[in-house]
């Protein structure tokens, strides 16, 4: 799965640690999400969507 996490985070000038804090996950997890090497669970995907104020389908897309 592809995602726009890195772009959305950069637009807000957030560090990975900032985003991790808001999501309640570790910075390593944010890194794994951004590089597309780990796909989040539905609850975490919804939380990401809420933090960025975008629908899930605009953040995550199929390969």
């Amino acid at each position: 799965m592809n995602n726009r996490l890195k772009v959305l985070r950069a637009e807000r000038n957030w560090s990975q640690a900032d985003l991790a804090e808001q999501l309640g996950v570790s910075r390593q997890t944010v890194n794994a999400l951004e590089t597309g090497r780990y796909d989040p669970s539905l609850p975490l995907a919804f939380k990401i969507a809420r933090v960025f104020g975008h629908p899930i389908e605009s953040i995550f897309t199929e390969d």
Partner: protein, 149 residues
Amino acid sequence: MNEPAKPSRPHGPAAYVLALGASIILGGLAGIGSAFLGDQPGPVGIALTAAMISAAMAGGTAGCIWWWRGIDEAAREAHKWAWWWGGTGGMALGAVVLLTLMFRPDENLLTSALGSSPADTFFAGMMSIVLFQLAGYALAWAGWWLKHR
């Protein structure tokens, strides 16, 4: 979907140091208690020894639950994957070693340092498998994070 009301902060290094310290103290207390109370002969001694070890195991399990609740979903996935693939792989490798030793008893491949009583042999076999599992688990866990970083 079960979602916490507000984001929880994963455990930091200080929490792990605290947990390690608590584990050492708990294990030490169980060992001291077992040495004093379990020294009695007969069923009472066996029951007291089992009770002390059970208390230590219960404490360890409670610590595991606390730790599991404090890690995020990627960390949990890493541990689940590592336990299945690494633990199973390690167990298979350990079984090869133990079965080889078992089927070749006349070659004297086992060192006498492992003991000679049935209890010693049983414990050595059990711990060998656990060590193989933990080694596989550790390697698989590190591999998961290297692959997902």
